[in-house]
């Protein structure tokens, strides 16, 4: 968070910070009033007086599994159909089966769920960009917990030291000298690694793939147990000269990287040029992807080359 709540460095419209870092992400498909992407969620119809008890079970047994995936929708929806009831979202459909839910409530809430009270509903899987759309979706699908344009919220929260970014990019570029291919990557995290492209030895040894292996090797030396389990690139930023290829982008997803900054897009790349692998719905990990906008004077490349 910018310390004083100052947002003068943010261009909200274009997703640019300090005039130098451009956010790479899927266009606001949700801004249109067309149908949102939906996800299936278990919904339990309860009496208002049971809501505390049910919420306690949800918080202890379901929310830890679902993580943040249900934070943008309201938990309860009031149903006035004769007597007042509440429809309550329990958990993602894919997280638990009906039998699991029934037995959890039986065991931990001493409640018996009637068959008809537990059903599956479809709710929007993301928060929309404007309040009007939030209201429209709320009326059609399920009430949205509107907290402002989610991307604006996100941009305000990004904690990035632009001086440090500039220094790391300078170091990255200094490592280009004398290399046949201008692909180099700097891994900045609990280990600091600079990796070069070695495709003349092995066609898949791109700088990102090699760097991941180098970090893993260094990590292996210090980890005492194999189960000491953080994902490898947790809390890492990588700086790389060109937009990585689809293979390398997906390798970063598997390694659960936190932030990627690159200088030049490439037609074969897996972020802005194809697939948006840093923030793709359906994959189990999303991370920040930025393009550095200052002119770094990188050589133009063959369009078919994979970085």
């Amino acid at each position: 968070m910018s310390k004083s709540g100052d947002t003068s460095h943010i261009d909200f419209e274009n997703g640019v910070l300090y005039g130098k870092l451009k956010q790479i992400r899927q266009q606001d498909k949700q801004i249109s009033k067309t149908k949102p992407d939906l996800m299936s969620v278990w919904c339990y119809r309860i009496k208002p007086q049971d809501s505390k008890k049910v919420l306690a079970v949800v918080n202890s047994h379901f929310s830890p599994i679902d993580g943040e995936q249900l934070l943008h929708v309201k938990r309860f929806q009031k149903i006035t159909d004769g007597e007042v009831k509440l429809d309550m979202l329990l958990c993602l459909y894919k997280s638990f089966g009906r039998d699991d839910i029934v037995s959890i409530f039986h065991e931990h809430g001493s409640m018996t769920i009637e068959d008809g009270d537990l059903r599956v509903v479809d709710v929007p899987s993301d928060s929309p960009s404007t309040r009007e759309v939030a209201l429209a979706w709320g009326a059609e699908f399920w009430p949205i917990a509107w907290k402002g344009n989610p991307n604006h919220q996100f941009l305000k929260k990004v904690d990035i030291d632009i001086e440090e970014v500039q220094q790391n990019i300078n170091q990255l570029l200094a490592n280009l000298e004398g290399k046949a291919l201008p692909f180099v990557t700097l891994f900045d995290g609990s280990h600091r690694v600079i990796s070069h492209d070695c495709r003349t030895d092995h066609p898949l040894h791109h700088s990102v793939m090699r760097g991941i292996q180098m970090v893993a090797d260094q990590e292996k030396e210090i980890r005492t147990t194999a189960t000491d389990g953080n994902y490898l690139l947790n809390k890492y930023t990588i700086y790389t000269t060109y937009e990585p290829c689809v293979m390398c982008c997906m390798a970063l997803v598997h390694s659960r990287i936190d932030r990627v900054i690159y200088l030049q897009p490439l037609p074969t790349g897996g972020f802005e040029s194809n697939y948006q692998l840093g923030a793709r719905d359906g994959l189990n990990w999303k991370f920040e992807v930025w393009r550095w906008l200052s002119d770094p004077q990188l050589p133009p490349l063959d369009n078919k080359l994979n970085a």
């Binding site: 047994h61 830890p64 599994i65 638990f96 699991d100 037995s103 959890i104 003349t200 030895d201 092995h202 066609p203 898949l204 793939m209 991941i212 292996q213 893993a216 990590e219 292996k220 980890r223 194999a226 994902y231 490898l232 290829c245 689809v246 293979m247 997906m250 390798a251 997803v253 598997h254 390694s255 659960r256 037609p267 074969t268 897996g270 194809n274 697939y275 692998l277 359906g282 994959l283 189990n284 078919k304 994979n306």
Partner: protein, 245 residues
């Protein structure tokens, strides 16, 4: 695919995710790979990469054209649909063909999540799925049972996971082939069979000593459906970890 399945079984016994593959040239297995992500701490050491590396190690001439020519002759048999990373790697190498077992719901790059094998980045390759699909899923379920045992939040899922229905393959996601039954869709053997009818111990020798217990981990197939009547083995992950220490 039976051999790949046996290699995946070996991975399961070594506490790795049971996904494995073989690369085949002129009907001969030239390399074998299984998932090594846990041991290496490197989440990119998928079975495909292990098998690819071993082929490349054997190539003296590393010119890009030579490598491409070699991989064009190869067929990859892998128990689970290649993920997006591997699908792109195989494409960049110029693999001849890919045959996979079950789909990869979370990361599949040959139809489930993306169609990397036939997108317009570089040259396309052919990919078909569904071979020994139920058996591939059984090994994965066996692995995830032990995962749940050590999960910080106790889950209600238990051994009954093995008994869950096997959802029909979503064939529309994948490229179709009439290679095996001439009529179209289900390329896994239909009818009734035991795994040992399809893959004899003799065939498994290319992957090392044959452990006959392998066959005890799979249900039989009866009239095209998984027959749950047989008692199958379940890996005891905890006990094995203790033994190792």
């Amino acid at each position: 695919m039976g051999i790949a399945l046996y290699v995946a079984y070996q991975a399961l016994m070594a506490n790795e995710t049971p996904v494995a593959c073989i690369l085949v040239k002129d009907d001969k297995v030239i390399s074998i790979g299984s998932n090594l992500t846990n041991d290496s701490l490197n989440g990119t050491r998928h079975a495909e990469f292990i098998a690819i590396d071993s082929v490349l190690d054997g190539l003296k001439d590393r010119k890009p054209e030579t490598i491409r020519e070699e991989f064009q002759k190869l067929t990859l048999y892998v128990t689970v649909e290649p993920c997006i990373m591997c699908a792109s790697a195989l494409k960049q190498l110029g693999i001849g063909k890919v045959i996979f077992g079950c789909g990869n719901d979370r990361f599949g790059g040959n139809g489930t999540v993306l169609n990397v094998h036939r997108d317009n980045i570089g040259e396309t390759y052919k990919s078909y799925g569904g071979i020994l699909r139920c058996e591939s899923i059984q090994l994965l379920r066996n692995f995830y049972i032990q995962e749940n045992d050590s999960a910080p939040i106790p889950q209600v899922k238990k051994n009954k996971d093995l008994l869950k229905p096997y959802p029909p393959m979503e064939w529309d996601l994948y490229d179709k082939v009439d290679l095996f039954d001439g009529k179209g869709r289900e390329v896994a053997p239909g009818g009734s069979y035991k795994l040992i009818d399809l893959v004899q111990p003799e065939d498994l020798k290319v992957a090392g000593d044959v452990d006959m217990e392998f066959y005890d981990y799979f249900y039989d197939i009866k009239d095209g459906e998984v027959d749950f009547n047989k008692a199958v083995k379940i890996v005891d992950g905890k006990r094995r970890r203790v033994n190792e220490e």
